[in-house]
């Protein structure tokens, strides 16, 4: 899978309340929640995000609550992939489970500016900044997790094995 889009950059410790505030969680409708994605820390996100865009962020992306609504609403907002220096543990699992592609690559994060055109090859793990011509090798997933991704998420993988 190849993802290509404009980079939307954030700093470290982007928490799940910032991604989708709990005040909206009386609903599980992801299209509705996507309208409030990143609202409290970046009110411009919803206006500027284009299908395929890639979030590029610092350490500990997705810290805080276990709400799966966070990766799901990022996906519903049109983001194709999140590249970060590191992910909070629960967000990492949730992203894999709901089929939001994620990649850890600290070097790439340091060299991507907001608005750069970025390409992520999910098969090889290569991340390229098409604006500057640089590229990096992201961290590969363990085989166990790769199988969940290939199956199309945890539900599909569980059914496959039953």
């Amino acid at each position: 899978m190849l993802f290509k889009g404009k980079a939307i950059t954030y700093g470290r410790d982007i928490d799940t309340d910032a991604i989708i505030a709990a005040r909206y969680l009386n609903s599980s409708d992801m299209a509705e929640l996507a309208e409030h994605c990143m609202e409290d820390i970046d009110p411009t996100f919803v206006e500027r995000v284009q299908p395929g865009d890639i979030i590029v962020a610092g350490e500990n992306f997705g810290c805080g609550s276990s709400r799966e609504h966070a990766p799901s609403c990022i996906k519903a907002a049109g983001i194709s992939c999140v590249v970060a220096k590191s992910f909070a543990r629960i967000f990492f699992r949730n992203a894999i489970n709901v089929g939001l592609p994620i990649m850890e690559c600290p070097d790439a994060v340091d060299s991507v500016s907001d608005g750069d055109i970025v390409e992520v090859n999910a098969d090889t793990g290569v991340i390229s900044n098409l604006t500057t011509g640089q590229s990096w090798q992201g961290q590969a997933f363990p085989e166990f997790i790769q199988k969940i991704i290939e199956a199309g998420g945890l539900v599909a993988r569980t059914k496959e094995r039953m």
């Binding site: 709990a22 005040r23 599980s28 709400r67 543990r89 569980t158």
Partner: protein, 421 residues
Amino acid sequence: MAQAMTIAEKILARHAGLDEVTPGQLIECDLDIVHANDITAPIAIDVCREISSRVFDPEKVVLVPDHYAPNKDIKSAEQVKKLRDFAYEQKLAHYFEIGCMGVEHALLPEQGIVVPGDLTIGADSHTCTYGALGAFSTGMGSTDVGVAFATGRAWFKVPPSIQVVLEGEFCPDVYAKDLILTLIGMLGVDGALYQAIEFTGPAVQSISMDGRFTISNMAIEAGAKVGLFEVDDVTRAYMNGRAQRAWTEYHPDEEAHYAKTIRMNLGEIGPTVALPHLPSNTVPAASCAELEIDQAVIGSCTNGRIEDMRVAAEILRGHTVAEGVRCIIIPATQDVYRRCVHEGLMDVFLDANCAVSTPTCGPCLGGHMGVLAAGERAISTTNRNFVGRMGHKSSEVVLASPAVAAASAIMGYVCTPAQVQ
């Protein structure tokens, strides 16, 4: 003989059917309890139905409508109804209706549903609270939990453990909340990412169960998977008469390997607050007199237990809340609420002009029952102070112990009990 292991490694190995595990290893485990709340269960229920028409064990699947309950609005009512319908359809042994309900992480230990040695997951990040009982418990998302509703199983990456050795004694006005805030300040919000924290040392025996729950509850705020305490006489006294199942005690081997060891002397910790907008942004509470507050919240899965209520009442007794300040007190379970009434704490709260609510997570997540307006500031015994956590994005949350929150409510600014005039 198996290799030396930490508590986390022993519990995970046992539930994976293995003699030993090592950090980094990916394993699949049988679960003792799987739970979710009214925000996370609706998705988990759909996931479960995709896989199976029945839950794996109606005794082991627990649903607690606590976040937007009592129902805040029609949408919340629909979500809670989905839990209720599923609970009745599946004949779940543990569904807690309003009137029996409590904040999940106070309720499950109190009701003896989670016991020492368990491996438990919940679709709520503060599921790590039960580490206080010597149970490995951690938060996951709705899909992991929905799959576990159907299968009773989940995968884990065995975490390395950080050992935190506690020594000395608390000074007056210093509590478990000050300890955990101080530790998070030392570690940072990702200082224990992907790791377990194991609390040990001579001071542990002096920390009550309620205090241990507060400490384990906030392990996630340092990124940790779980915050574990070894089972001792304090745990056994708490579990006796309430445990719904036999429990297993796991003790770390002397030669167990820790990623790092941190020593903390309780006597060196003072009343501590975390300023906006990270739980790691800690400073001495006594240094914050310029921070005026609009609201104080005393409650939550972090600090809504009976000892927290007693501490708050002792400070509020004979005082009233400062003019212009709202003080909202939320006993975390129906039992804590009842004890507040029986012990006369309710009179103290009411005489002090506090509002006392039935159990709910409400204000902690900016849900209901105490949402902040633009520019307002709250002092709160809850666990997160992220941007917009309790209301408008320009509102602020200062995290504190019940003692500091009660003192601040009286004075109208952030202060310690010693500063109350």
